[in-house]
């Protein structure tokens, strides 16, 4: 367990420091995730302790959103003024994203299946 925590925190630390030093435009933990992924590919398997720790962490992913979500109370003014654009944007973009992704992916899968047949 301790080992798993150390691996994950080290990946995050290296990610954060690299992003800071190289002034990269994306979050440090994302680079940490890529590092861990590369490490797993090199190792060729997920250590069971790491798998157990990440399963626990990801099972409670929803809980981790809560403290930041409560921060909405600080932005009541902004939300009260922009509630219509926000709601419309969320509805339209979520529907579009779902529809476009499903159509493109199922189209490409069908295209490939047809090419494999011929």
């Amino acid at each position: 367990m301790l080992q798993a925590i150390i691996i994950i925190l080290l990946c995050q630390l290296v990610g954060e420091v690299t992003v800071l030093v190289l002034d990269l435009p994306f979050p440090g933990p994302v680079l940490g995730m890529l590092l861990l992924f590369a490490g797993l590919v090199i190792r060729g398997e997920t250590p069971p302790a790491l798998k157990a720790f990440s399963d626990t962490l990801l099972r409670y992913l929803a809980l981790l959103f809560v403290p930041a979500g409560v921060g909405l109370m600080v932005h009541f003014g902004l939300v009260a003024r922009d509630w219509l654009p926000i709601l419309a944007a969320l509805l339209v973009s979520t529907v579009l994203a779902l529809v476009v992704t499903m159509l493109v992916l199922s189209g490409l899968i069908r295209l490939r299946a047809r090419r494999h047949e011929s």
Partner: protein
């Protein structure tokens, strides 16, 4: 008696323990209530917890900074959780390699459509610039989305709330859209759910089938990575 209570309150209000514990208790209660009410998406445990906690803070006259002193210990875990997403990604690597190109193309298109359409609709309706910046990464799972917003100069806590709303909307509307488009492939359903409604969508996809769930995890990770790498680049043109 009343004075004792004031003393205790003064002690508790100044220590991180109170709000850390309250957050965990409220979340556990929300999980329980959500299950009792049939697991509906409108009363999603996260949205319910947010509402209850905001109510408690307002009633007790506690400001957000005081609350966050305690809750930051939970918040901190978002970074490690992002790193941990590498593990489901790695576990699904064979399926990924098999469908590499279709998944990349669909993922890229979907992630771009989500971000660009959200910003354009909100901009057309006259939203504030800071709202737009916080809105752009809303389809991505919170830990990544908040990191992106921080980079863009938006409000991470506003993004967190918008991400949660997006997840709830995606879960509500996806069954209808899947039926309308006559999608039968569980890989497609799952991938689209994870891509456009992140963790909420992934949870819903696991309800469809294990395959849908695995592809949802993939969609979630891909959307997160692609948006994190691309959005800071295209945001200046978009806004």
């Amino acid at each position: 008696m009343n004075e004792d209570f004031t003393d205790i309150w003064a002690f508790l209000a100044a220590s991180p323990l109170l709000w850390l514990t309250t957050t965990l208790v409220v979340f556990q209660f929300s999980l329980w209530l959500n299950r009792r009410l049939g697991g509906g998406m409108v009363l999603h445990p996260v949205l319910l917890s947010m509402g209850l906690l905001i109510g408690i803070l307002l009633l007790t006259g506690t400001d957000y900074d005081t609350y966050f002193d305690g809750a930051q210990f939970i918040h901190f875990m978002l970074g490690p959780a992002t790193v941990a997403l590498a593990i489901p990604l790695y576990e699904n690597r064979h399926q990924i390699r098999q469908l590499m190109l279709p998944l990349l193309v669909a993922g890229l298109t979907g992630a771009c459509v989500a971000a660009v359409s959200a910003v354009m609709v909100a901009a057309a309706l006259g939203a504030d610039r800071i709202t737009l910046l916080s809105l752009a990464p809303k389809s991505v799972t919170s830990p990544i989305a908040m990191g992106i917003t921080e980079k863009l100069g938006g409000l991470p806590s506003l993004t967190a709330a918008l991400v949660l709303l997006t997840g709830a909307i995606g879960c509500l509307l996806s069954p209808l859209l899947i039926r309308l488009l006559r999608i039968q492939d569980d890989r497609v359903k799952g991938f689209a759910l994870g891509l456009s409604a992140h963790g909420f969508g992934t949870a819903q996809a696991f309800g469809i089938s294990a395959t849908a769930g695995a592809f949802a995890g993939l969609g979630l990770s891909l959307a997160g990575i692609m948006t994190a790498f691309l959005l800071p680049g295209i945001a200046p043109w978009l806004l």
